[in-house]
Symmetry: C2
Subunit: 204 residues, 2 copies
DNA sequence: GAATTAATGTAGTATGCGTTACATAATATT
DNA sequence: AATATTATGTAACGCATACTACATTAATTC
């Protein structure tokens, strides 16, 4: 049913055709949000970057926060750290987690503005956008937690808290001028404690 | 000269007397900025909390960013982590740095909103306020760096980067719901690597 | 070709922001 | 008492924001 209706809508679209492709607009908006942060990007900035007018924007995305939600969706599939690829069951847990931290350091240092799109989004001043980013962050933490829990159930919570805190710090410092080498050195230092923490049944 | 003029002004103030005490207003504003962040606090919020009107505010503080600068000054003297008291030359460097991290964890968890006034301020969207907070942060990092460099000059930069990154992460996570115990556990884990890092001439 | 449907461009709206003009009130000086 | 000085209360200002009403344009459907 829905499929038929959708294909009908796609193949035989009535009315005036779109002058822009919303799917192609998402990566452009993603870059804006990543570079300047959600609050600092205005709808006017986005519409100007897309070469469209506000009504087209709102017809396509509903709201600024709605666009941001789509950006985060796209981010999870294309731009985020490939946790599933790094956290493989056939390798030591500590080694995998250290690689997550190092990969975060590398990625956070790429853009001039720096930092993680999601982690920075969790601190914006718009409730809806912040909740979207928080949901994204919570989902990522759950992946890490489940990966640890499979082999070190007692350490999962604590080590997940630790890893996510370090990642937040890396993102913040990337925004405040730490370069790639600084971030990588910090990530390596932070990672050096993970192996022992996994083995400890209680807090160090 | 200036002293005479100032005392004259203080003892024999012409004109209508102030209805509020700007010095007493600073801690109130400090609480607002700490709880909600610079961007989320409007001048109207501050004037309402102080029971004054905008002209009184601007006569006393010049601007919102000007008030924030005074808040940061007050913060450095009263509310900040007492680095000078913790980083004493008569104790092991690693031990002192771990206490800094733990003290940060404790303080960041006090307020319901959580986090560090300065570190959160470095990420606001107002250039002047952000620069004020950044200057505050840079000064604090310099204290840590100098403390380390006195005994471990080769490790000073790297370990300072590490400690400040962890503190940024603790502040961010305090804002995102981590409680005191979680933050303390993370701080202890992060601290466990410092001793070895100080001894290493090169990166781990 | 007429009707229908949908996206566009123009030009706004309402709201909140940091900030200020201006007349008034309250004090010290003369 | 008259004047000078300073802070106050009222009432805005200019600007930026997210968002929208409405007429128009461009396509499909009948």
């Amino acid at each position: 049913m829905d499929f038929v209706i959708m294909t009908t809508n796609i193949s035989k679209s009535r009315g005036r055709p779109r002058r822009f492709d919303p799917d192609a607009a998402v990566p452009i908006a993603q870059h804006l949000f990543h570079a300047r942060g959600y609050d600092a990007v205005s709808v006017a900035d986005v519409t100007e970057a897309l070469g469209i007018n506000p009504p087209s924007f709102y017809a396509a995305f509903g709201s600024k926060a709605g666009l941001y939600a789509r950006v985060l969706d796209n981010w999870a599939q294309t731009g985020a750290i490939p946790l599933a690829a790094i956290l493989r069951p056939d390798r030591p847990v500590a080694e995998a987690l250290v690689e997550v931290l190092q990969e975060a350091a590398r990625r956070y240092a790429i853009d001039p503005a720096g930092g993680c799109l999601v982690l920075e989004g969790t601190r914006c001043n718009d409730t809806e956008a912040r909740d979207s980013a928080l949901a994204c962050n919570i989902a990522a933490e759950a992946v890490i937690r489940d990966y640890i829990a499979a082999r070190y159930p007692q350490a999962a919570e604590r080590v997940t808290d630790y890893v996510s805190t370090v990642m937040s710090g890396l993102s913040a410092k990337a925004r405040n001028g730490h370069d790639r080498e600084q971030l990588l050195a910090t990530a390596r230092m932070a990672g050096a404690v993970i192996e022992q923490a996994l083995s400890d049944g209680v807090a160090i």
